[in-house]
């Protein structure tokens, strides 16, 4: 089973990287960009029976830093699209 973990900064946590990228997009002439936030995507191949509870524990214990980050778990079918 392929699983995609999206880790992103919690709302309200300042994202200096996102702000710098936002500034670069502006300077390249792209208009209408309201906000940029940068996160991390982790793709994993796990045993088919892996429970949501186990995946959540993986996120809480290692993949995300719960002080500053939120996470979302997406199960991906073999074609690569979200299930």
């Amino acid at each position: 089973m392929k699983v995609r973990i999206l880790v992103r900064l919690k709302p309200g946590v300042l994202d200096p990287q996102g702000r710098a990228v936002h500034h670069s997009l502006d300077s390249l002439g792209f208009e209408g960009v309201e906000d940029v936030r940068i996160g991390r995507m982790i793709e994993m191949d796990v045993a088919d029976g892996t429970s949501d509870e186990t995946l959540t524990k993986m996120c809480e214990q290692l993949l995300a830093n719960m002080v500053i980050e939120d996470f979302a778990i997406e199960k991906v079918d073999p074609v690569g699209e979200p299930a």
Binding site: V13, L14, P16, L62, N65, V67, I68
Partner: protein, 229 residues
């Protein structure tokens, strides 16, 4: 009894030797060097230091992998027994990732690596690391980091201040840290994480912007606290 200190080395640590040299210079006894894969620490330790560097290449997040290494479980147990633990720079990141200290260290607000000597204000004067300082004490100690921007939510920051757990503040904030925080203590005051490098400031240097000896006192305070105990 000689002072028994341990310095932990992770793959990618690069200030571990400096830390060991500083400890030996100040205590007269060589520090025991411990490897990240060691499940046990030497017995009867007086002090544990987690050095700066880029443990595990900063993979995932600074300090995240080291916080899950076998030796950290032993460090957590030692800290629970009251052994003083100092984490400097990457060591501070490891301490927050391990849960021994609250908060997190994010990318510097200015996005750039900051490498210079900064002035610190001493905020806590009662911990084993800071007990000989007074409220007016200023220390000049070098910083060198990319992820030194201390973050915790407002409620946590209020609680840290109420509990006198801010060890040091930057006189001029170099990295965007909330409330200018440069160092944080555990609830019992025996675990200190700080971004500045006291082990790089243990002897006077000819050039005014290099070295200095203000870092010595932090180690000397730990030694004194044990003699007094």
């Amino acid at each position: 009894m000689p002072f028994r200190a341990a310095v932990v080395t992770f793959p990618g640590s690069n200030c571990d030797r400096d830390m060991a040299v500083a400890i030996e210079a100040i205590t007269g006894t060589p520090a025991v060097r411990v490897w990240h894969g060691d499940a046990d620490l030497p017995e009867r330790l007086d002090f544990i230091a987690l050095p700066g560097g880029f443990s595990y290449g900063d993979y995932l997040r600074s300090g995240a992998m080291a916080a899950k290494s076998p030796v950290l479980r032993a460090v957590v147990k030692a800290a629970e027994r009251g052994v003083p633990v100092l984490g400097v720079c990457n060591g501070f990141q490891v301490l927050t990732e391990s849960g021994l200290l609250p908060g997190a260290l994010m990318r510097n607000a200015g996005q750039t690596f900051v490498c210079r000597t900064v002035e610190l204000e001493v905020a806590n004067t009662s911990s084993p690391f800071t007990s000989t300082f007074d409220a007016d004490t200023r220390l000049r100690i070098p910083v060198a980091h990319h992820d030194g921007n201390y973050f915790a939510d407002e409620a946590t920051l209020d609680q840290l201040e109420a509990d006198d757990r801010i060890a040091f503040r930057y006189a001029e904030n170099p990295n965007g840290s909330r409330r200018d925080i440069a160092g944080v203590l555990s609830a019992n005051g025996r675990v200190l994480g700080m971004m500045p490098h006291p082990e790089r400031a243990i002897e006077p240097a000819a050039h005014s912007n290099m070295g200095g000896a203000d870092g010595r006192s932090i180690f000397e305070n730990v030694v004194k606290s044990l003699v007094a105990a």
